[in-house]
Symmetry: D2
Amino acid sequence: MANSGAAGIEEEDTVATTGSNAAPRVAVAGVSGYAGGELARLLLRHPRLAGVRPAFLGRAAESETKSTAWLEDLHPQLGVPGTAQSNPVHPFSWEWLVDSGIEFLFLATPHEQSREWAPEALKRGIKVIDLSGAWRLKDAKNREVYHLHDADPTQAAKLQDEAVYGCPELHRKEIRTARLVANPGCYPTSVILALAPLVQAGLVDLSHEIICDSKSGVSGAGKAPSAKTHFMYAADNLSAYAVFGHRHTGELFEQLHLNPDQIQFTPHLLPIPRGILSTIYLRLKTATTPEAVHQILTNFYSGSPMVRVHPAQQLPQIQHIVRTNFCDVGFALAKDGKRLIMVSCLDNLLKGAAGQAVQNLNVMCGWAEEEGLL
Amino acid sequence: MANSGAAGIEEEDTVATTGSNAAPRVAVAGVSGYAGGELARLLLRHPRLAGVRPAFLGRAAESETKSTAWLEDLHPQLGVPGTAQSNPVHPFSWEWLVDSGIEFLFLATPHEQSREWAPEALKRGIKVIDLSGAWRLKDAKNREVYHLHDADPTQAAKLQDEAVYGCPELHRKEIRTARLVANPGCYPTSVILALAPLVQAGLVDLSHEIICDSKSGVSGAGKAPSAKTHFMYAADNLSAYAVFGHRHTGELFEQLHLNPDQIQFTPHLLPIPRGILSTIYLRLKTATTPEAVHQILTNFYSGSPMVRVHPAQQLPQIQHIVRTNFCDVGFALAKDGKRLIMVSCLDNLLKGAAGQAVQNLNVMCGWAEEEGLL
Amino acid sequence: MANSGAAGIEEEDTVATTGSNAAPRVAVAGVSGYAGGELARLLLRHPRLAGVRPAFLGRAAESETKSTAWLEDLHPQLGVPGTAQSNPVHPFSWEWLVDSGIEFLFLATPHEQSREWAPEALKRGIKVIDLSGAWRLKDAKNREVYHLHDADPTQAAKLQDEAVYGCPELHRKEIRTARLVANPGCYPTSVILALAPLVQAGLVDLSHEIICDSKSGVSGAGKAPSAKTHFMYAADNLSAYAVFGHRHTGELFEQLHLNPDQIQFTPHLLPIPRGILSTIYLRLKTATTPEAVHQILTNFYSGSPMVRVHPAQQLPQIQHIVRTNFCDVGFALAKDGKRLIMVSCLDNLLKGAAGQAVQNLNVMCGWAEEEGLL
Amino acid sequence: MANSGAAGIEEEDTVATTGSNAAPRVAVAGVSGYAGGELARLLLRHPRLAGVRPAFLGRAAESETKSTAWLEDLHPQLGVPGTAQSNPVHPFSWEWLVDSGIEFLFLATPHEQSREWAPEALKRGIKVIDLSGAWRLKDAKNREVYHLHDADPTQAAKLQDEAVYGCPELHRKEIRTARLVANPGCYPTSVILALAPLVQAGLVDLSHEIICDSKSGVSGAGKAPSAKTHFMYAADNLSAYAVFGHRHTGELFEQLHLNPDQIQFTPHLLPIPRGILSTIYLRLKTATTPEAVHQILTNFYSGSPMVRVHPAQQLPQIQHIVRTNFCDVGFALAKDGKRLIMVSCLDNLLKGAAGQAVQNLNVMCGWAEEEGLL
């Protein structure tokens, strides 16, 4: 039996294989963007999906796929278009999805579209992993930044309640049985994974505001050409943006249970293709040792294969996580034992988007969380 | 007299100062682009223009200057907008130019506009240094790539005859008295300066085609956002383009007196902001020594301060000429004494555009050629 | 029948399970460099090696492994050091290799070491895939550039005769039974794969020298810090080097059966981490159509899954092949039907080094050539 | 009255021609590094030094100048080596300096050398502008990070008292008459210029620590090749370093009169050649309006031509200050009127080193502060 992997995986197999355990049929809508391309790459080589080809769709019925009908035309790194091994990109169609027996639909679509399509998918019995910001925020006030309009507000509110924030390290259990997973934002993933262990342990002195200074590569700005994504603007430059108002901030409030006086977040645009580094400044309630901080982190992430806790006082950097699904977390503690700097790094297209989405699929299917991601 | 400079310059002053020798009034039309910005920078610190502020205009009557009325808003590296030292950008207006007593007009405008405006300027007694491709090519066939339409074809043909190709190293004498200078393309400057000495000396075996493999930074593609200038496309990439059809090729034919069978030119897009490197492959008629080749080059450029001939077998590189007006020329000769590789480098926005335009102004005004350019 | 695609794999599978075909034990010596790291990554996720962990060794008995005993310390993108999933790096030892039952040894070592170690490995019945230049060149004159000293010149000469140049697209059959495979240089791979089809077909007019203008990312210069690999030197720069004397040139002569008057090769250092683009200028003997050229290329590579022939007049670029094992080949033919520009691109660490090495392993083991490489 | 602009310059001109005010003779020791090169470039085109060529020296008596005797060999962008216009680089020699009548000596040397040489220069009546960290810190405890050893501790202590921290915006008056100016560090310049106005006005709530998150280009790491300056390490990467212990921190304490509990500073290495951006987080004592904050900044810098205060809520970015001597300062104030983010940008080789050194020379000579720097 090919592609089987480690022994532990096979055990889970046994658990999982209550009959239904043939490879599920998955589809990606919105495959032309950067995250969509990474999703395609990951799903195509996922060992659990080896038997059944994933399906790829455009963002619209007429679709971006008119001129290029092959995934490999949109993302040439993936293979040779127009051959037996290549993958067609279909115009978006609910009928097609249902007829094809799709069980999981990844939405790599703009948030307006995700807000509209997720209910439609669930109605048809298709589970959704949404990569947009449409379903991440429980608090309507936090959601305002997205200007979402719901055709059926009652149903939308219900679904919003049901939606699970797709951070497996925090919500593994709920994700397992979720129908609608809201894949986290790239920035929040880096900040939340750094802060959650200490905040949940009640060790952070919240009378001192937590400062999150984040820096992201240009792929985070999307594929559409603009003045800010012009090579001459982005290269050899650094700029802060969306200060006091980035729409990812609400995820920090909700996931860390903090209010706007307790944490602030400032993003910067780095002159690199991909990667996020967040430098986070906080103060502990009581003087602590580096060993104790390290212990809290390693305990918290003991069952989480995609988070790597660095040794005390050793900080992660972007080059080590680019093109991986790891989130690396490290820290430096001042001599006073109270002032703490945490640094976390991840690839904004993987752990910050497509990789985490596949990690969620793994959890939803009862597979090992890191499968297809190493 | 402040800012006077070397003794030699003062001598030329004497020659030049036949009364009219107050600083001339110069204007730049189309100051918002990359070349326009570099022109502004050079003219503002040009010692010969110290007394009289250059004028800056937009590309149109309504102009791009509506929202930003200051040069320093368009090009923040140049200073502080809105102060006594800052420079207004005027809407384009012939009346304004005439009333302001403008003597020299730099056109950093698209070629269609340059084709239309140059005759208008000359009609009003204003000399023109045009940075576009509109007036560079004598042969109508070569000019076809620009799809130019002349309101008055007879007048245009006359002007085309009169226009001088603004390569001071080749046409210094004609430029001195020219009314209309067609500033060369960035790629052709790099190729022509490498090849002219040996081709003119009749040493090149033209039965073997000359191959020009050129590479340019992204600023050469202009300021408009597009799929190809997106950071994610240009960074970490290299691509050839416009193979067998780049519109700069005609300049090579005309300036080097070669036909299309004797030279070919292939440009590539480099993942850097600025700089061009051309690698040129040719064969000499008879076996020659490196010393002899070096001598021909240094003789040719003995009176040309902006071309630096490298020692034999030492090749120039982009980092040494970026942000200078130098064109560096070097070569390697094979052991057979016949196969020759020439490498030339320049900054596409300076020696390839704005710097060469100022060099032409210097020549037209009888100043030292390198003034304001070191 | 190898290279046959999906169906063929299943057939081979059947063969594979007949006992002898358990996963072979492979080892990599010199795992700390860039190519060594890529080899490790590829081998660790190779489906045919799933059962048996590859072994990793340093470059010396004392080894670079003293301070870092884990592969994941040397290459953090590969995983978490010091866990059950992580991979130890052993000091180099013949005894250890023999005791571990190693059947294939990849040498990612300097050429002097490869020249010394390959005979030692073969003596012990271990097959060798050498990534250095030590065994690539049959002609002693071409080999001079490496200054190799053989302890036993007679044996070395014999082995040199036996060694197979590891370009599967040209020497698939010989590689299958080879004991010593000399993995090609990165530059030659890009040039040879572009030129071989037309040269072998006898269509190239060799009275006109073939010009190969190649450009490579900085990883090609190795991991050792130097003035030329300093970020301030390499970034925003381009430079030609080793003109008329790069030691990869001999591979072109030998593999394409050309003499030094018929082809020349000039490498340049690109300001990107990885990727090679070669622009190749040649002339055909008789006027040909783009369709005919395209047909020759596609025929030649019909059984070669790792070479992608572009449609006529569409040129490949680096971004499409980075981090893949593809070599993309495209061309533009002038209107005269004779002047031809070929462009080929590959990732210098994959198809130009580690990927091609694994491709050779696949061939030697009778597996599908692209296994573990898509 | 300095800093007054055009009119003031002419007045000074008049003063200048009264005999004693001929151009002073200046020398640069340590001209081979990045800051040394920028110093040479600025001094060579400084209008006040037009008459007298600056002198350039190596770092040692034997000197780095043995093989390259020309400034233009070390820094090819500056001109043509070996011609009448080029500049020799002399071995370092006190005798030579005295004989040449040098009045000002720039030390672009390592801090140990600057600590030793500054007293030697003063002893000979030569004023010193030191670009190293040797003389910046008054508090011996802060100075410990440099491990300085003084041959004559009493004399060194006296000189340390006398040395003036060369930030013209804070210490213009003292610099005017100083014999020894300690040119500030690049990071501290960016932080101090952002913070000084509000801290001095007593508006900052110091019970909340000020957080300085700074990012610098690679030239800040110096010219020596190392693992961290390798292109493959620095490119496409970001890393924090020297957390809680960067040796520039003492300058912040001393210049802003803050203690280590009130401010912390974390530097990061950016994948760009040059430029620093500091994001600074602080809290105001009482709720304030953006207009009020803006007013305080513009008042503070009204006589300071090299600091540009951005409009309220508009943040500076690196591209606007690279290759200028400007420090751009901007801020965003939260709706609560208390939480303030300041962003400042400068070019680490100019306002952060060579440019500021020339600015100090201007002040010491009674010239307009921005002369030769625009």
